[in-house]
């Protein structure tokens, strides 16, 4: 092993950090594996992108100082009639900032965020508890450092209250901001469920760093049992992670199997089995009706089948709903998200939308790979080039280490039955076929890591 100092690389897409000293043992890269020795077919364990998406991590202080000038008025560039303003500091917001800066080194860019704007790999939240990681441990950079690196301005903890599309001006409590082009990267929130009871407002939904921090704070109390509402992607990932972190978990879902819209039944069953082996309890065909405080500090949950469950914490993972409130107020066209065309333009041609909040013909592309392509489309359009966004079905990686899953299922393929290619102990392989053509697939277990190459055949 070379004695040269080990380097750290960051995945451009999701922020996963590859540390040469630690390697990536799950993918067979032993500690000490140098970047140049990473095989070309290696996949980022969080987002599935490749070795070429890793870049050297800049040496910037990773942790923000807590007591800095957060409360002071931020007297920074307010934006001007030439400025491109990005609203939102999630993966979508930062991605479009990066893409635009790469294409246009000069253009003034201002990123405005209601939160603190930390740069962190959002998919890592699903694996963080079992790894003992706190919210702070997931932060790779604070917003100011990232903005400095990109040569853009940033204004954090600043909610956009209203947009005057005629004057092209944003209203915030820290002053007005003029824009030339506006990009909405406003994300999504967990669906609110009609649950009654005096503890209903205590239900947590974890969808970002801040809410993950809240979860960690709650877990500092006497928590033994956690209830998860929803057996979708997030619900299953959390169920696996939380049981591994040592808690008892019950998952409640109105469907009869987990990830019912995505997986072949056999694979769903396998997932149920694997997670059950770790201690997950499932309540299918049921919903949570009410949540009330109990005398001992725990909660009493009443389910739609009249069964009663004692639990210490309830996490909602019932599905994401696009944040469209501001867009609606602005008069932009919305359906289940902010409507965009394949240039990612909204009904107002100076305003774009990206990521979890953007809907292209009713479909929302909430995964990292399409968001990256959307960012390219937007930055191309703004700089005068047309690179239309191709609405390809995304490759979905379910981060359930007890049974890794990789699925690609086109939106319109609900009527097509899965066909079994192979079912072995090391994993399953299913395909969706439209005549001669394979249009989708699902892989589980050890086979899941081979999804990248199959996906490439598909999209070409």
């Amino acid at each position: 092993m070379s004695t040269e100092e080990f380097q750290r690389y960051v995945c451009d897409a999701c922020g996963f950090i590859y540390d040469e000293a630690k390697g990536d043992p799950d993918s067979g890269l032993i500690p000490g594996t140098r970047y140049i020795d990473i095989p070309e077919d290696w996949e980022c364990p969080l987002c599935g992108l490749t070795k070429s998406d890793l870049r050297l991590l800049p040496e910037v202080a990773a942790l923000p100082q807590i007591n800095r000038t957060s409360s002071r008025s931020q007297k920074i560039n307010k934006g001007s009639e030439y400025t491109t303003v990005i609203v939102g500091a999630g993966i979508a917001g930062w991605s479009v900032a990066e893409a635009l800066r790469r294409r246009d080194p000069e253009r003034p860019i201002l990123l405005v965020s209601a939160c603190k704007g930390y740069v962190y790999p959002k998919p890592a939240i699903s694996l963080a508890l079992s790894q003992g990681k706190k919210a702070e441990d997931l932060i790779s950079m604070d917003a100011e450092a990232k903005a400095l690196e990109l040569g853009i301005d940033v204004r954090t903890e600043t909610r956009i209250m209203r947009v005057d599309t005629n004057k092209k001006r944003l209203v915030t409590v820290k002053g007005g901001i003029e824009y030339d082009k506006l990009i909405l990267a406003m994300g999504a929130h967990q669906k609110e469920l009609p649950i009654t009871g005096d503890a209903a407002s205590n239900i947590l939904s974890v969808n970002d760093l801040q809410t993950y921090k809240k979860l960690c704070e709650k877990l500092e109390n006497e928590i033994k049992h956690i209830t998860i509402l929803g057996a979708g992607l997030i619900g299953c990932e959390f169920a696996d992670d939380i049981t591994k972190a040592g808690y008892k978990v019950t998952v409640i879902d109105p469907q009869q199997q987990p990830l019912s819209a995505l997986l072949p039944e056999a694979m769903s069953n396998e997932l149920v089995q694997k997670l059950s082996n770790n201690g997950v309890e499932w309540k299918f065909g049921a919903t949570l009706d009410s949540l009330n405080n109990d005398v001992d500090g725990a909660y009493v949950a009443r389910l739609s089948d009249d069964s009663i469950l004692k639990t210490d914490l309830v996490l909602s993972a019932a599905g994401l709903v696009a944040n469209t409130k501001l867009a609606t107020k602005m008069g932009l066209k919305t359906d289940n998200g902010i409507c965009v065309n394949d240039d990612m333009q909204t009904s107002n041609p100076d305003i774009y939308a990206i990521g979890d909040c953007a809907s292209l013909e009713g479909e929302i592309f909430a995964f990292i790979e399409p968001i990256k392509r959307q960012a390219e489309t937007i930055s191309a359009d703004i700089t005068g080039i047309h690179e239309k966004f191709m609405p390809l079905p995304p490759l979905v990686k379910v981060k359930t280490p007890s049974l890794p899953l990789s699925i690609c299922r086109p939106a319109g393929a609900n009527d097509i039955e899965w066909s079994t290619v192979s079912e072995q102990t090391k994993g399953g392989y299913f395909e969706l076929r439209d005549g001669e053509n394979m249009i989708g697939f699902a892989l589980s277990g050890d086979l899941a890591s081979g999804a990248g190459s199959i996906y490439k055949q598909l999209s070409h």
């Binding site: 957060s70 409360s71 002071r72 209250m161 915030t172 002053g175 007005g176 801040q210």
Partner: protein
């Protein structure tokens, strides 16, 4: 709809009419008194009564609206019109409006039934002794009033250094610490005629004179149960705090706009040289317009108790304080020597603007609370 409202009003005054009526009172009644208020400490009681009869104090009170929907934006804008001329009077309106806000938000319906109509019409004038409370809840100082539960009410002792818009027949809302209940506090309406209660005129200020500001001395003052607004003071403050701070924008908006107007008024004479100054009227106007728009949006949800929302209210309040200082400084520099005269508006605006910056919550208090909220997030 509440019965009081249905008895009093058939429709709510449209905003334009309310502001026109307010402007008229300002022009005919208040303007001749402004210098006297500022320099001699004259309290414009007749103006206060007249504003009350025009409905200025009831806009933000749902029970006093025929629609049942509070219009805090209207209350802020009317206060702005008055503060534009004289911030002492604007401040007295804030005291009156805030007192009404406490009564509207009372957990005890008796206090609401007995007092809301009187205070919201200006028949009874009132104030707010909550500066100490807000500082205490922000960890800046201790609560100054202590109460003890007795049969039929509380006995309260202590003192508050200055409470405004008071007089013998006035009332004001305040909060006292409850002995024997750890962290317990009670919100009450105090009758200035109560036995053992004394108003002491002690302090004089560089501005905001003519606001009937007194030290309040409580010596075994009995506050009966029918004057108790809420026996859970902390819960009361949580649901009322945004309204208290939001209403203050009326003072800030009026002060800042008048400074801008002063700068503009000397433009024909001094524009050729004032062009060399920073913070020109058009720049200030843009900043003010942004702040007003944000304030009116926040004012649409005066009952929001969420911390993120309160953070925005505080942040905007900070912006208003800083902008007032900047605008009044600019008014001084734009007017030069003529603004320096003892009766000139510019120097009065300068002194008033410091009040926007230091009245609770002061700039330092706001920064502390914003830091606390940021760390909790």
């Amino acid at each position: 709809m509440n019965s009081i409202a249905s008895n009093l009003l058939n429709t709510d005054t449209p905003l334009d009419e309310l502001l026109d009526a307010t402007r008229k009172i300002v022009d005919t009644d208040l303007k001749p008194l402004t210098v006297k208020i500022d320099l001699e400490g004259y309290y414009p009681e007749s103006v206060m009564r007249k504003l009350g009869s025009e409905g200025v104090y009831r806009q933000h009170l749902s029970d006093m609206r025929s629609s049942g929907i509070p219009d805090m934006g209207a209350a802020i804008q009317a206060m702005g019109v008055v503060s534009h001329e004289c911030m002492s009077t604007g401040f007295a309106i804030w005291c009156q409006d805030t007192c009404g806000w406490y009564i509207q938000n009372a957990a005890n319906s008796t206090v609401r039934d007995n007092w809301l109509g009187k205070v919201s019409s200006g028949n009874v004038l009132g104030g707010t002794g909550m500066s100490n409370t807000m500082k205490a809840f922000a960890g800046i100082e201790d609560l100054r009033l202590k109460g003890k539960r007795v049969d039929g009410g509380y006995i309260v002792n202590g003192n508050l250094p200055w409470v405004s818009n008071l007089g013998k027949d006035h009332v004001f809302g305040t909060l006292f610490e409850l002995e024997g209940r750890l962290g317990g506090s009670v919100m009450a309406l105090v009758d200035c005629n109560a036995e053992g209660f004394e108003l002491r005129l002690s302090a004089h200020f560089v501005a905001l004179e003519g606001t009937r500001t007194f030290a309040c001395i409580f010596k075994d003052v009995f506050i009966p149960d029918e004057m108790i607004i809420d026996d859970d003071g902390a819960a009361f403050l949580r649901r009322s705090r945004t309204g208290i701070v939001l209403l203050q924008f009326g003072m800030g908006i009026g002060n800042i706009q008048s400074c801008i107007d002063i700068c503009r008024s000397v433009e024909p004479l001094l524009g050729h040289v004032n062009g060399y100054l920073d913070d020109r009227p058009d720049e200030l106007q843009e900043e003010l317009d942004d702040a007003v728009e944000a304030a009116l949006i926040l004012a649409e949800e005066p009952y929001e108790t969420d911390d993120d929302y309160f953070r925005e209210v505080l942040q905007l309040r900070l912006t208003a304080g800083e902008l007032a200082l900047k605008a009044s400084q600019s008014a001084m520099l734009h007017t030069g020597a003529q603004g320096y005269l003892q009766t000139a508006p510019a120097q009065r605006k300068l002194r008033e603007s410091y009040f926007v910056a230091i009245v609770t919550p002061a700039i330092k208090h706001l920064r502390k609370e914003l830091d606390t909220l940021a760390q909790a997030a």
